[in-house]
């Protein structure tokens, strides 16, 4: 039976990927100008207002914008019809208390990422704190369901491989909106892939039961979306794509500096 769940999930993943590809094909972002129409110049023209010499904060290197804007909308629909209904059901059937325990559990398992990346960045004190957190929370915190380490003065030391690359001077690269995962860039997408590879070569390999591994992946995804209050197209701003692109860049800059 587990095999069939796995099979279904795989088919679902492939179907989603195919849908995403379909959705993002035909990727122009240049407003469609009809050569037969005479366009009346607006009161404030772009070419008169903007200057070549000025740097605009909202400009982020985004050569794949056509793909990205469509992936952004794809994520909106994925959220709306699949992801958020699942998250809402989860929130409806579980008490807040249980949700908190699940979040702690998931965080505790992912301390592995924090551990490796603090180590990669030679931040030994933080690596030590992460290890101590894992030990304390796994034992005192009963398999990580509670987080006594934070109360003991050992807060979480968040690091991922994108931050590690940034720490060693790797630039952002082109902006990418990843289907399902959301805003990223070439550096962070590489980081995400590396973290996932390390993670699945690492601790989950100890767990041989595939059903458990699939379940954990699913629960972690739902838990993460449950904690993320961001909703696509809910700011109401017609410039949401542009604003988020700028803020994503800045947020990562801030995280890498730590």
């Amino acid at each position: 039976m587990y095999k069939s769940i796995e099979h279904k999930l795989r088919i679902l993943t492939i179907a989603l990927a195919a849908l995403a590809v379909l959705f993002v094909s035909g990727c122009s972002v240049t407003p469609k100008v009809d050569p037969d129409i005479a366009y009346e110049p607006p009161r404030h023209k772009v070419e008169d207002t903007l200057k070549e010499t000025v740097v605009y904060a909202v400009d982020v290197y985004d050569p794949w914008e056509g793909f990205n804007r469509r992936a952004y909308t794809f994520n909106y629909y994925f959220d709306k019809f699949i992801f958020l209904p699942v998250v809402n059901t989860y929130e409806f059937i579980t008490p807040n208390y249980v949700q908190k325990r699940v979040s702690n559990f998931v965080d505790n398992v992912y301390e592995f990422d924090n551990f490796t990346n603090n180590l990669f960045q030679l931040k030994f004190k933080r690596t030590g704190i992460t290890l101590a957190r894992f030990l304390v929370n796994t034992t005192l915190g009963i398999a990580g369901l509670w987080d006594p380490a934070t109360d003991l003065g050992m807060p979480r030391q968040r690091e991922d491989f994108g931050q590690t690359l940034g720490h060693y001077g790797v630039g952002d690269g082109p902006y990418i909106v990843l289907p399902l995962f959301g805003p990223s860039n070439l550096r962070d997408a590489t980081g995400l892939a590396t973290d996932s590879a390390l993670f699945y070569l690492g601790p989950p390999n100890l767990v041989k039961d595939k059903a458990i591994r699939w379940t954990f992946t699913g629960v972690a995804a739902v838990d993460k979306r449950h904690r993320q209050s961001f909703r696509y197209y809910r700011s109401g701003s017609p410039f949401e794509y542009d604003m988020l692109r700028m803020l994503y860049k800045s947020k990562r800059e801030i995280e890498i500096a730590r």
Partner: protein, 429 residues
């Protein structure tokens, strides 16, 4: 750990002192109005409110026939929220401030406070929010207090019609903050004639006196506070980001959450050159970029987008945002707003229009109607000198004016929440 012990001891000490008769002083933590406006009320100073209330979000189509261009595709249904009490209770409508949605942090705090106090609550976005402009603005040209309030009144009726069978309502109340407060006054006036709700009490929280004056102040906060002018905005932005990076890297237990700005304030305190006015100005400019672009596209005003160019769902609009970043509210007033009203009535002058955008135009009504109350701050940064005195005179004993808080910074502070909820509670009994 010692820190926590310290805090607990400190808390006990405070409670002791308070019980000894030091209560009565207003202890909102920020005396600087710009800090208050930017940082707001840090969670450790907030009135404790329920973490979850059974909020429902629904949508409404006010103009089903309206054709919405592709770029505004996701804005054509008006989103609003409501929370319902189990039994009979008064219903209160909340109107959001400039550019804010029904779901903004301030609206959520108000919703929780009123729900906790036993009211049905309906939360509505500001008529300056793009969603409202597309889905519910009759003209598509926001900023006119009387017209926008009439649109709000229609929306309130439509929502009420949808829910009246399932809500046992004993009385109708109305409140709003900032621009939403000014609109509440106009809605109440309209309701005197239309008598749909017969609002028993109406509370204005941090209203502007003259909308025109206030937006000019907000425009200047941006334009006068970017070193080297707006051409250097990007360098300014980079400095703010690296200052935040410094806070995040070196501050104690700093996380990206609602208290980030407060942690930043604590870490950097006191630095008089922090660009607080610019931050307020930026926030306002972003709201107005959204508003003006929406109006321009929806009404084909030919302001920054060519009149007959149809923007599709995924078209690049970054350049328009850059252009709008350079344009002030005054530019909007002269480029879209005034022409719109002059097209309807060529005899309208700029001065006449400005006059209508003010609470002063309702002076006689506001001065004499018992149903009003006002909560404001002595140091609100969107008022011109003298305007707070005008409001004090206008509302007399119906005004509660706190010494600090800037523009709406203290709304979640316990004294303010008590004043807000207490105003209606007096009527409830």
């Amino acid at each position: 750990m010692f820190k926590q012990l310290d805090r607990i001891l400190g808390g006990c000490l405070c409670a002791l002192l308070l019980s000894c008769g030091l209560a009565g002083a207003y202890d909102y933590p920020f005396a600087d109005p710009y800090v208050a406006t930017v940082v707001g009320t840090p969670s450790e100073y907030m009135e404790p409110l329920p973490a979850n209330v059974p909020v429902k979000v629904e949508t409404l189509k006010m103009f089903p026939e309206r054709e919405v261009p592709g770029i505004l595709w996701n804005l054509d249904e008006l989103r609003y929220s409501y929370v319902r009490q189990k039994g009979p209770a008064p219903l209160i409508f909340l109107i959001a401030g400039t550019g804010a949605s029904f779901n903004s942090p301030k609206m959520q705090e108000m919703q929780k406070a009123f729900y906790q106090a036993g009211y049905h609550v309906i939360s509505i976005s500001s008529p300056t929010h793009p969603n409202f402009i597309v889905a519910a603005s009759t003209s598509g040209v926001p900023g006119h207090l009387e017209e926008d309030s009439a649109d709000l009144y229609k929306v309130m009726q439509a929502i009420w019609q949808k829910h009246q069978k399932k809500m046992e309502v004993t009385d109708f109340y109305l409140t709003g903050y900032s621009l939403g407060a000014a609109q509440s006054a106009f809605i109440a006036k309209l309701d005197e004639q239309e008598k749909v709700f017969n609002f028993r009490k109406v509370l204005l929280i941090n209203p502007p006196v003259s909308l025109y004056n206030s937006v000019l102040i907000l425009d200047e906060m941006l334009e006068h506070n970017i070193p080297g002018g707006l051409d250097n905005f990007s360098a300014f932005y980079e400095r703010v980001v690296s200052a935040f990076a410094d806070v995040y890297a070196n501050g104690e237990n700093v996380e990206f959450n609602n208290d980030f700005l407060y942690r930043a304030y604590q870490y950097r305190n006191p630095q008089s050159d922090d660009p607080l006015e610019a931050l307020i100005g930026i926030s306002f400019r972003i709201s107005s970029e959204n508003m003006v672009f929406t109006t321009d596209v929806l009404t084909k005003a030919g302001y920054v987008v060519p009149k007959n160019l149809v923007l599709r769902r995924h078209d690049n609009v970054t350049d328009y945002s850059k252009v709008l970043g350079r344009l002030s509210f005054l530019d909007y007033f002269r480029g879209i707003f005034l022409p719109h009203f002059q097209a309807k009535d060529p005899s309208v002058t700029e001065a006449q229009l400005i006059k209508t955008l003010s609470l002063r135009s309702l002076d006689g009504y506001l001065r004499n109607s018992e149903k009003f109350g006002m909560i404001h701050n002595e140091d609100d940064v969107i008022l011109l000198p003298g305007e707070i005195d005008y409001l004090r005179d206008l509302f007399g004993t119906r005004a509660t004016i706190f010494p600090h808080g800037g523009h709406c910074g203290n709304m979640a502070y316990p004294d303010n929440v008590s004043a807000m909820v207490g105003f209606f509670a007096d009527a409830k009994n």
